[in-house]
């Protein structure tokens, strides 16, 4: 192939691509939906009755390779119950400047309390805002649940780890 026809062929290639639709997306007006397994901003989950899934075991903090999580646990009582089982996380903080969104916390959590959600639009204007507290991370109470702490009959919740299915 001589040089001239090679250049023509190249130009023909770019010319044709004018008639293929654009592959770009007008972010932020249009957003690409994330995949099911996407690892975005964390969420702390609740059970349907409103109790928090987190039992304050600190396993997520131990598993975190970036040491981004800080957990402090307190005792549940039947008058002031936050989660099933003995304890709940009275302090739960994730430093989003340290987090690398690896998902190890989700893998390590024995109660499926912490899940990496779909939100990837994290921004803050100073370092203090990068620390996401328990209040920020905790999901709102669902329609069939009550807010925590709840007052419950004695001996109703004695099991910390629920029966779960393997995630997909």
């Amino acid at each position: 192939m001589n040089g001239f026809s090679a250049i023509l062929k190249g130009m023909w290639t770019t010319f044709k691509s004018m008639f293929e639709g654009p592959v770009t997306i007008q972010y932020p007006e249009v957003k690409r939906p994330v995949r099911r397994r996407f690892k975005g901003r964390h969420e702390l989950k609740r059970y349907e009755n409103g109790l928090e899934k987190c039992i304050g075991c600190s396993l997520c903090a131990a598993a975190c390779p970036a040491d981004a999580i800080f957990v402090e646990a307190s005792e549940n009582t039947d008058e002031q119950r936050f989660s099933p089982g003995e304890r709940y996380a009275s302090t739960y903080e994730i430093n989003m400047l340290r987090c690398i969104f690896c998902g190890y916390c989700e893998d390590a959590c024995p109660t499926e309390a912490i899940i990496l959600g779909d939100n990837y639009e994290l921004s803050f204007t100073d370092r203090a805002q990068s620390i996401y507290t328990r209040e920020k991370l905790l999901n709102p109470v669902g329609p069939s649940g009550q807010a925590t702490p709840q007052q419950v009959p004695a001996g109703m919740f004695d099991r910390s780890i629920p029966v779960m299915v393997d995630p997909d």
Partner: protein, 410 residues
């Protein structure tokens, strides 16, 4: 050609500036570390005689992350997330070599399905890496469209990685003993669609470049690396194969089951930038071939070893078995111990021989972890290749040896 035949004099290895620079006859010029064509943060100290490069001294370390040292401070499984961040265009390959090293050190089995998926993803990653290389190296030579086209296809690979692992780049999808999770069901149809489209796309890049006289002028005969030099500098990967030496670790020291796959080792004669370009283009087609074989081999089965001393139990067991809870807590807090022994595992990364030396001390953290990274070793030939060429050609040469600075500096 064996190593014994290679003879290098001390002059070949001297890259210091000449007396003429000290006398003011030639000019010393800094290129980088923020120069766009240095593919990251590579700084070059150039000694120029007019436009001609007399000497070129690479200065690395601007992207030093201390990952090797950091790995010693974390358990085997936790430190894997850092391997993604070494060569960020070959994240799956880095995971693979690290997992292989751990598995060899502690003697852990990997199920057949996991092996196949590992190969599938490393080859997909090779295509993605070559696409980025092709796009950026062509962009350095002012071929803008190629860059856009390559990234269009790479995006689809990243999307598939997001599908499987939840992350587009920093996947950590391979774990010691297998994989994080099995492939999602929509994955294989997406992949097959992609494999059907890709050959035509590669033809498109070739239409733009392979016979283009401007591209040929800029790359043919530029940065010639002879066989002797390539062996003498222990160059590996497409850069070596561009000099006509058929050496590929996938064939020479098969790992992860590569011995069962049919593929050709691509070589080109010439050793110049153009030969290296052709090698990478043809390697993409070879990778498609390997992925198709991997899809055909996929059989149902577990994707992670069942050895509870090393692999945390599945979540469904946690609510029903006390033993599973104990293993789960122990593995996520303490990790697993590895014997006081050392292993070295090499794999063929898109850039060449990527090796991990891992030494255990009986505890749950590595005593020492050393990475033999292809970018670091291949960068050594840059002074040799660039001597006597124009500054503009130097840009083509940097592009053609395909360095990733995260890999070089680690």
């Amino acid at each position: 050609m064996t190593l014994q035949q290679v003879e290098l004099t001390s002059d070949d290895l001297r890259h210091l500036v000449s007396q003429r620079a000290l006398d003011g006859e030639t000019v010393l010029l800094n290129m980088g570390p923020q120069h766009p064509s240095t593919h990251g943060v590579l700084r070059l100290l150039l000694e120029l005689d007019g436009e001609t490069v007399v000497n070129c001294i690479p200065d690395i370390g601007f992207l030093h992350t201390g990952i090797e040292k950091n790995i010693e401070a974390k358990t085997y499984e936790k430190s894997e997330v850092m391997t993604d961040r070494l060569d960020y265009l070959n994240t799956m390959g880095n995971n693979l070599v690290y997992c292989l090293a751990i598995e060899k050190l502690v003697d852990l089995d990997v199920p057949a399905r996991a092996q196949t998926i590992r190969i599938l993803f490393t080859e997909l990653q090779r295509i993605a890496s070559h696409l980025v290389w092709l796009g950026t190296a062509a962009l350095d030579l002012a071929a803008m469209s190629v860059f856009l086209y390559c990234f269009r296809e790479r995006e689809r690979i990243l999307d598939m990685m997001e599908m499987a692992s939840g992350q587009r780049m920093m996947t950590t999808y391979f774990r010691p003993g297998g994989l994080w999770r099995d492939l999602p069901e929509e994955f294989i149809p997406t992949l097959e669609q992609f494999l059907d489209d890709l050959p035509a796309r590669i033809d498109q890049y070739e239409d733009l470049l392979t016979h283009n006289p401007i591209f040929i002028d800029r790359t043919k005969g530029i940065g010639v690396l002879t066989e002797e030099q390539a062996l003498g500098y222990s160059i590996t990967g497409p850069t070596l194969r561009g000099s006509g030496i058929a050496y590929d670790i996938r064939r020479a020291h098969p790992y992860a089951g590569y011995e069962n796959y049919e593929f050709d080792i691509i070589t080109e004669e010439g050793g110049d930038c153009y030969a290296r370009y052709l090698v990478r283009i043809r390697e993409m087609r070879e990778s498609i071939r390997i992925i198709r074989q991997a899809i055909a081999r996929l059989e149902d089965g577990p994707v992670r070893s069942n050895n509870r001393k090393f692999v945390p139990p599945p979540r469904s067991e946690l609510g029903t078995s006390m033993e599973a809870v104990i293993h789960h807590f122990k593995l996520w807090t303490e990790g697993f111990p590895a014997p006081a022994d050392s292993v070295y595992v090499p794999v063929e990364s898109p850039r060449g021989e990527l090796g991990v030396f891992l030494e255990g001390d009986g505890g749950p953290k590595p005593y020492r972890c050393y990475w033999r990274t292809p970018s670091f070793v291949n960068l050594q030939v840059l002074p040799l290749l660039s001597k006597g060429h124009f500054v503009a050609d130097l840009v083509a040469i940097i592009g053609s040896i395909d360095i990733v600075l995260g890999d070089t500096d680690r």
